[in-house]
Amino acid sequence: MSWTRSKEITSAIFAVFFLVSIGGYYTDIPLIASINTELANWVQIMLNIALGTGFIALFLYHRRKITRKTKGYPFSFIIFAAIAVMFVAMYSGPEVRGWLYGEVFTAMTTSVICFALFYEVSGAYRAFRIRNFDALLLMVSGFIMIINFAPLYQSVFPAFGAIPAWILGVPSMGASRGILIGVAIGTIAIAIRILLGYEKAYTG
């Protein structure tokens, strides 16, 4: 069964799926279109099954933590209990589901995401220093955009609405356009490299 390990098989699978989806878009051949639809369906099924890999990884990690009684292992029991509670709640009807997911889980997640701002501001205090022209551009542009989100300044000086709009609509947009085009070219380049076997990330 050594053929199952061969890189040619995985490269061939990649090539078939890649070329069929390209062909499905650029050609009007009904056979390719129907194969493309079927293969897309297969990928959706595989990706959905792949969601379970996260659960397996979590399970294995916390099972090891419990068996070895590593620091903080009691929280692993809480994680498993929470998994069971949410799983059952999702089948329990809209009210229970809405309460646990929509109210409690959402509020907890929002509370933890709040740390992003605190650490961004403390990071900006330490790192956002004008050492050169690049940093000056970064800071001036950043300040103008911060003002854009504060209604106070726009109500006092209407120009504080027009300046951020110009920054977003002209110099920043030009750079973003360049980045978008560059990313698209880069995506095509990556695909060609994988097809030709230079990139081994997906095919081994």
């Binding site: 995985t10 069971a84 949410m86 409690v104 690049d134």
Partner: protein, 220 residues
Amino acid sequence: MDILTSIIIALLTLMAWSMLYRENVFYNLVESLIIGFGMGYLLYIMITTLGKILFTPLMEGQWLLIIPTIAGVLLFTAFIEKYRFLSRWGVAAIAGSGLGFAVSRAIPVQILGQAKMFYLDFSTAGIIDIANWLIISITAITTIVYFTFTKEHKGILGNMSKIGRWSMMVAFGATFGSTIGGDLTYVIERCIFLSRPPQVYLLIPAAIVILYDAMRRRKK
């Protein structure tokens, strides 16, 4: 929202925010609940979606779907060192299809759709339109030049790439400012919630607990 729900959510919020003071068992509890609830939901959505797109069509006679089912199950061999190579088939299929759909549409939508904006009808454009168009075109082209690594950035190429870098600094600064403005909403939303009764009454005991702990640790 009823009073009990408000109190529970307020307690969980304050327990999460206690991390700002220092890592503690309350924060770890909230963190564990978030991980557990998130994973529990993921299991639910995986099973219900598989029911719709796999089990039901299989029962209706679409036996070809056995192939992606096997490939999907083989993805789990990634956890077993000896059989990890089997998971590459599913990964290759997913990557191939995903890249194919992205690349096929990237050319007309992303590249051509954006490149056509380099054209300007000078007969109808005013001075300001032309000035803005010039700045946009220069910043866009110099940004693309910045990312070309086939030649060393010297001379004209070096200057163009420098302008591209400056343009990106403006864009990244705008992104940073917007990010701060956006992330602020999370904190403000929680603060607005906590400022309302009955949960507002929990703020004082929370502050007392933190002050007591700070003084106790200082004495130590």
